[in-house]
């Protein structure tokens, strides 16, 4: 296995090398675009190959042992779930780079592109790592770039406070997570040496080596840690302001890709390794995810600015993914993974459009906007697509994932348990999201025009990423099996 360089390693290395090259004085946007194109291509290849060979197994395995005790390997591989998320990452990265300005901020803007590349590399590494340690470590790689991006290139009065908030919040979350992960690997390592290798940590068939009580208490920090990263209620208050203040590409990458890491972690680590741990906290999680869907949904309705509203909406939709996970069956997890992909693309699309609007208008406050559909038809139409995708209109992948998750919750449910009741309440979220999205659309693009008449439509170069994301949402919405086929049957291994 080791020795040869796999395509996955290429994908992860390219942004890192490009970041280094930009840092050493290369041209920011040119190199970043090159990396984005290259990764888009490689990511598509990975996806296609995994699709062809089946998503249940690990492909492109590579490993380099870095430490013997505890066993630490720099190993990467991609099964179906990783391949889906890699594809998501490369697409969003491509779009994020593509919509980035030539000259961000005042200076040379190199830092901007270095940060973008590092965030992308962090996400890719985290999604492909076969080693618990690197799974964690790569995610953290994005922490400082995000901090810098929001602080330097962000906008709004609160950007500094927000940069702090997201950094500290995520820092705390990842420390809690780290505590949980250490407890996990210490407890689960097979006799004869500690190891970080997830496949070696996985309990074999038969009885779980840990008692239910132990699993329960290890699961808690994992849930909270991953939950903070995903903005699980009540740990959500970092997300919306951060996305509102961040430059559009960062918001796209963070809301679209990085946030999925927490969910990925739960699906990859917490649930398979600690199945009984989840059972103990299931009711709690159900309540919290209702907080995401209903409570945050209401908070979203009351937002007065587009950027904040989108931020909250992304928090809200996390609730559905958690619902899918909480179903604990392969339908639900398939739906959850599909939704991770769909939400990633759709929220990135929304944030990129929001960024374009911000560049054109003096404000994103709803009451000071109106009737823009007349003079910016392209933006109006694409925003319409994005908005309908986000509220789960059939034809878009978001709908396919939502409906899968709902069905999952009712699988063989002859009577109403807590899961089913929560799902029915969560269904109301579908109404809530329609309320705020359509209100926003109505406010911005429809009705009588209030000022900003001179604002121009989206320039031609920036249209490609927008169209690309819409097309991908439609393709995966019309043929969700492309994605679903890849989702490995993780439940079956429990």
């Amino acid at each position: 296995m080791s020795g040869q360089v796999t395509i996955i390693e290429f994908i992860i290395t390219i942004p890192l090398v490009i970041a280094l090259a930009i840092g050493c004085g290369g041209s920011g946007r040119g190199l970043a675009l090159f990396a984005a194109w290259a990764n888009l291509l490689l990511g598509a290849i990975v996806f296609a190959v995994v699709l062809a060979r089946g998503g249940g197994d690990m492909h492109f395995q590579s490993s380099h042992i870095l430490l013997d005790s505890p066993e630490l390997t720099l190993g990467f591989a991609a099964d179906g779930m990783s391949a889906i998320l890699v594809l998501l990452t490369v697409i969003v990265t491509f779009c994020a780079v593509r919509i980035s300005p030539q000259q961000p901020g005042k200076g040379s803007g190199r830092l901007y592109y270095v940060s973008l590349m590092l965030i992308a590399a962090g996400a890719l590494g985290a999604f492909c790592a076969t080693d618990l340690f690197f799974l964690y470590a790569f995610h953290e790689l994005a922490l400082i770039p995000t901090f810098l991006m929001i602080g330097i290139y962000g906008h709004g009065r609160e950007k500094v406070a927000t940069a702090w908030k997201i950094t500290i919040y995520l820092g705390v979350g990842s420390l809690i997570l780290l505590g949980g992960l250490i407890a996990l690997y210490v407890q689960l390592s097979p006799t004869g040496g500690l190891t970080f290798d997830i496949s070696k940590l996985a309990p074999g068939p038969g009885d779980h080596p840990l008692s239910a009580e132990t699993q329960k208490w290890i699961f808690l920090p994992l849930l909270i840690g991953f939950g903070i990263l995903v903005s699980l209620f009540p740990f959500h208050s970092w997300a919306a302001p951060a996305y509102a203040c961040a430059p559009a590409p960062v918001a796209m990458l963070h809301a679209g890709v990085l946030k999925k890491f927490g969910l990925y972690g739960i699906l990859r680590v917490a649930m398979p390794l600690l199945p009984e741990g989840f059972d103990a906290w299931k009711e709690l999680l159900l309540i919290l995810l209702l907080g995401n869907i209903i409570y945050v949904g209401f908070v979203t309705i009351s937002q007065r600015y587009l950027d904040r509203m989108l931020g909250h909406s992304s928090v809200m939709h996390m609730g559905y993914i958690f619902l899918g996970i909480a179903c604990c069956n392969s339908i639900g997890w398939g739906g959850a993974v599909l939704m991770m992909f769909a939400h990633g693309i759709s929220i990135a699309l929304l944030f990129s459009l929001c960024g374009s609007l911000r560049a054109r208008l003096d404000t994103l406050e709803f009451t000071r906007l109106g009737g823009l559909g007349a003079n910016m038809p392209f933006l109006a139409v694409t925003f319409g697509f994005a908005a309908f995708a986000s509220i789960g209109l059939p034809g878009f992948a978001n709908f396919a994932s939502e409906i899968t998750i709902f069905f999952a919750a009712f699988r063989e449910a002859g009577e109403l348990g807590s899961l089913q009741v929560v799902t029915i309440v969560a269904l109301w979220g579908v109404v809530i999201s329609a309320v705020y999205m359509l209100r926003a659309y109505r406010r911005i693009f429809q009705g009588e025009c209030i000022g900003n008449l001179g604002a121009a439509d989206l320039e031609r170069e920036a249209r490609l990423p927008v169209v690309l994301m819409i097309v991908i949402l439609l393709i995966t919405g019309l043929f969700p099996n492309i994605i679903l086929k890849l989702v490995p049957d993780l439940v079956g291994t429990l």
């Binding site: 870095l66 430490l67 200076g107 790689l141 602080g151 500094v160 702090w164």
Partner: protein, 492 residues
């Protein structure tokens, strides 16, 4: 080659440098530093000939031990001193400003020599396994630091720091000696190897034994700056010259820790003393973590901030102590290895930060966070180096600082699972989280502070040697952060 030749060579080097100082002309003073760097480098090279076999413990006259730990810490001390000399050379302009314009009267040559002597003391300390040797070598180091701290004789801060360090240091020495006396009274021996044997006797006066331990902890705790004996740290760090601060925070702490480990281990291994000793340690750990991390939040002076951070780091290091003494089985690197790893990493990242800060200090004459503002634009490489150093101090993965913390948490969590000391883990997590805040304050100042946009732009002059050091340290932070095995291999 006999291992104690290493100390002898270092002392000879120091004497040689003093002689050079005496005979050299005005211009060549800075060459003395180069001689020191070269000499120390040579000694590090010579260490190859004195590599101890694993598990080997050679004794000389019952007071000088040479085992793998000793060798490791000796290397650490040499490396730290070498880098401090590089730093001191960069710092020379400021130094002259606060002593004398005249090279000869400024005594800068002596300023280069003193760290070398201190280094000899540090090296000796790492081989000390008996309370008398510990005491003498500790005093050698401390005395050197008294002078170093107060060296900038026209700088009020430096003098004030010197006096404070002197008085409080002497106070702690008093407690240490008193503690040694009581330990002797309880056990009848100064040797740490025999201590555990004689402490485990049936008729041990327990109260007296723990009293002696408490006094020893006072003396050693002062050196490694744990709460409640941290009080000198911020003032002294702030007042001392930048290279001295760096030296204090790295070398003094490392030496303190090896002594601490050697002293604590016999006490912990005695069943009847274990509980109170553990209790004390847990208290100290929690207090140190809380104090260091919280008090750092509001700091505006970088050196003061790093002073509190160094207190916090002492707290993290102490987390490994409760796992010692054999009642807890730890998988992965044990307490000794983890602490050694952490200290080595701490050396790399701290010296990286201080090197950058030294250059900034010379160029901007400021030591507040404001001085760093705009660094990201004016000197991207320096800013990046500082960023990496700070990130490592904060414990971001893929830097050496993360692994340091990781190994310690690894121990603490295993310890908690077996012994139930979850409070330590809890406080440490909170502490590390708080750490993000004040470390990122430095990053923030460098990258989007705006103070430096207006006004004159300071020029950064970086000597070639300093540049090379920065790059080497920078790479080391990442290298050991990704391949911790290499460093652990050196230790074990």
């Amino acid at each position: 080659m006999l291992p104690y030749y290493l100390e002898i060579y270092v002392v000879i080097l120091g004497v040689l440098m003093l002689c050079l100082e005496l005979f050299s002309g005005r211009r060549s003073r800075s060459k003395i530093a180069l001689v020191g760097v070269a000499g120390l480098g040579l000694v590090i090279g010579l260490m190859i000939f004195a590599v101890p076999a694993p598990g080997e413990d050679t004794q000389y006259w019952g007071i000088y031990h040479y085992d793998q730990w000793a060798a490791f810490y000796k290397g650490l001390a040499l490396l730290a001193t070498l880098l401090v000399l590089v730093m001191a050379r960069e710092f020379a302009p400021v130094f002259k400003h606060y002593t004398s314009r005249d090279e000869e009267a400024s005594g800068i040559g002596e300023f280069y020599c003193l760290p070398v002597f201190v280094c000899a003391g540090l090296m000796w300390m790492s081989s000390a396994k008996d309370l008398v040797t510990i005491f003498v070598s500790l005093e050698l180091v401390t005395m050197g630091f008294y002078v170093l701290v107060a060296f900038m004789r026209r700088n009020v801060g430096s003098l004030e720091a010197g006096v404070k360090y002197l008085i409080l240091g002497a106070l702690s020495t008093g407690f240490l000696v008193y503690g040694i006396a009581w330990t002797y009274g309880v056990s009848g021996t100064f040797s740490l190897d025999q201590l555990s044997v004689s402490l485990s006797g049936d008729d041990l006066p327990e109260s007296a034994a723990v009293f002696a331990f408490a006094l020893l902890m006072v003396g050693i705790g002062f050196k490694i700056a744990v709460v409640p004996f941290q009080i000198w740290v911020p003032d002294v760090y702030q007042g001392a010259a930048m290279p001295v601060t760096a030296f204090l925070s790295v070398a003094s702490k490392a030496a303190g820790f090896i002594v601490l480990l050697r002293v604590v281990e016999p006490f912990l291994s005695v069943a009847s003393l274990r509980d109170p000793v553990l209790y004390l340690i847990v208290f100290v750990v929690c207090a140190t973590l809380i104090y260091g991390n919280l008090a750092a939040i509001a700091q505006k002076n970088i050196k003061r901030l790093l002073a509190y951070s160094s207190i916090a780091h002492a707290g993290f290091l102490l987390m490994a102590l409760p796992a010692m003494g054999g009642s807890v089985t730890v998988s992965g690197p044990g307490p000794h290895a983890s602490i050694a790893f952490y200290l080595a990493g701490y050396l790399v990242m701290t010296l990286l930060c201080f090197l950058v800060l030294t250059i900034v200090r010379v160029a901007t004459e400021g030591e507040d966070l404001v001085a760093l503002e705009g660094l990201g634009k004016r000197a991207p490489l320096l800013a990046f180096a500082m960023l990496v150093g700070v990130a490592s101090l904060a414990g971001i993965p893929l830097t050496v600082g993360f692994f340091g913390k990781f190994f310690l948490f690894n121990i603490a969590i295993q310890n908690a699972m077996q012994g139930g000391l979850w409070i330590v883990v809890f406080v440490a997590v909170l502490g590390a989280a708080t750490g993000f805040y004040y470390y990122f304050k430095i990053i923030k100042a460098m990258y989007w502070g705006t103070a430096a946009d207006e006004g004159e732009v300071a020029e950064f002059k970086v000597g070639r040697l300093a540049m090379v050091s920065i790059l080497v340290l920078l790479i080391a932070v990442f290298f050991f952060g990704i391949f911790p095995g290499t460093l652990l291999g050196l230790i074990q």
